[in-house]
């Protein structure tokens, strides 16, 4: 249970598809092939075939502080096989969406709550979120957006804790 009462009540009030608080943070798994040293490819922020109707992220504040606990909970619910040299990349929702809006224009990009139920042997992923209205991978505009998102990253963490 989240240790911060205000966060706890906030996430209880959310329904699937609701926008997340723009002050909050999300992380996305980045594969080794999308990194070279400290450089991260913007393509890492485009939809994977497994992502569904948007780009998959995890909402950090869903879980209680401290950050280490939050990251461990996210890792425990992962449906991808995280590589030892992969990274979890942290973004601030507001900063990222503003960057897209300021540079590309208003694409009505959102980050919404999208908890996943248990399925196919995977446990539930209750902090799952989707970034929507990002053009499909393969499109040049999508790549430009991916590169802008990359420029807003706050921090990276090992994919395997």
């Amino acid at each position: 249970m989240p240790s911060n009462p205000s966060t706890f009540s906030y996430h209880l009030s959310l329904s699937k598809g609701d926008n997340l608080d723009p002050k909050h943070h999300i992380v996305r798994y980045v594969k080794p092939g999308q990194m070279q040293g400290e450089e991260i490819n913007g393509g890492a922020f485009l939809a994977r075939p497994t992502d569904g109707n948007g780009v998959s992220y995890n909402w950090i504040e869903y879980y209680p502080d401290p950050l280490e606990t939050q990251m461990n909970c996210i890792r425990a619910c992962a449906r991808l096989n995280y590589a030892a040299t992969g990274k979890l990349v942290k973004l601030n929702i507001e900063k990222t969406l503003n960057e897209i809006k300021n540079v590309i224009g208003d694409l009505k990009t959102t980050v919404n709550y999208n908890p996943l139920d248990p399925e196919n042997g995977y446990p539930a992923d209750p902090s799952h979120a989707l970034m929507t209205n990002i053009p499909e991978d393969g499109d040049a505009l999508a790549e430009a957006i991916g590169d802008l998102i990359r420029d807003t990253l706050i921090e990276t963490y090992p994919a395997k804790g």
Binding site: P32, G33, Q34, M35, Q36, G37, E39, N41, G42, G43, L46, R48, P49, N102, V103, I104, D137, G138, A140, L141, E143, A144, D147, L148, D151
Partner: protein, 263 residues
């Protein structure tokens, strides 16, 4: 001595060996230690078309060994750069350099000693900067691409390919071919970062500290998808994106005043 290397040499397949390997003897012409690391990097990678000054010592060395050389010499160059200051400071550390040279020889005992000594000479030349002209191609123009950069690129692409195969993910041979073909035609001095997209295509990215960038996804031989971030009369970056031919991309890089990112 004939210096006629071609960037293509660094993209030879892994089973090709380099003949007559030789560390080029051209080092920092100014003798300035600030450039010593870079100078060493520029000189350390031999190429298939470089002719040895001592044919009798010529020996083939597998590319894998050359990669070890590159790593090792690069580490050394960092070590020696950390000494800082003018070349006299390097001289003060002669014993350290001697040790390094011995370490190289010890590490590669399987290779002819005389050749190793020849290859280790650049370390001595950090101490006594040579009065030789900078590396020139046969037509007397500056080299388009530094050999070390090509080795870095070749190694990176190979790694991405190996990882993709291991994890059963797509890797486009057509994209790899397009990337290599494009880079051979492009005058650059700084290796781009190379990434593998979900589609299996390769993407090359040059970024500046001011967020300007050249990013190219190689979809096919003459089909490149680009994302440029550029600045024009403001601090705010502006994007340009789309698809173009290799020739068109080069024109656009110039038009957006981004060619500085390549060096």
């Amino acid at each position: 001595m004939r210096h006629s290397y071609q960037p293509t040499d660094m993209f030879l397949s892994p089973d090709v060996v380099f003949t007559a390997p030789q560390i080029l003897k051209t080092l920092d012409p100014t003798g300035s230690s600030q450039n010593a690391s870079q100078s060493l990097k520029r000189t350390m990678i031999p190429s298939a078309s470089i002719q040895s000054t001592q044919p009798s010592t010529a020996k083939t060395i597998p590319e894998t060994d050359l990669i070890k050389w590159a790593d090792f010499l690069h580490d050394l160059s960092i070590t020696h750069s950390s000494f800082g200051g003018a070349s006299s400071v390097y001289a003060d550390n002669l014993s350290s350099i001697n040790n390094s040279r011995r370490k190289i020889i010890d590490r590669y005992l399987t290779v002819e000693n005389s050749l190793l000594k020849e290859m280790a000479d650049p370390l001595y030349k950090l101490v006594y900067p040579p009065q030789e002209a900078p590396l020139k191609r046969e037509d007397n123009t500056s080299p388009m691409v530094l050999p070390a950069e090509w080795l870095v690129l070749a190694r990176r692409i190979r790694q991405l390919k190996t990882d993709a195969v291991k994890s059963n993910e797509p890797f486009s041979e057509a994209s790899e071919k397009a990337l290599k073909s494009f880079l051979k035609s492009l005058p650059f001095g700084k290796a781009p970062s190379i990434f593998l997209m979900e589609s299996g295509n390769l993407r090359a990215v040059w970024r500046g500290i001011d967020r300007r960038q050249i990013a190219l996804q190689f979809r096919d031989e003459d089909d490149l998808q680009f994302v440029f971030f550029f600045k024009r009369n403001s601090e705010q970056i502006r994007p340009a994106y789309g698809r173009d031919s290799a020739e068109g991309i080069i024109r656009q890089i110039e038009a957006f005043n981004l060619s500085g990112l390549l060096f």
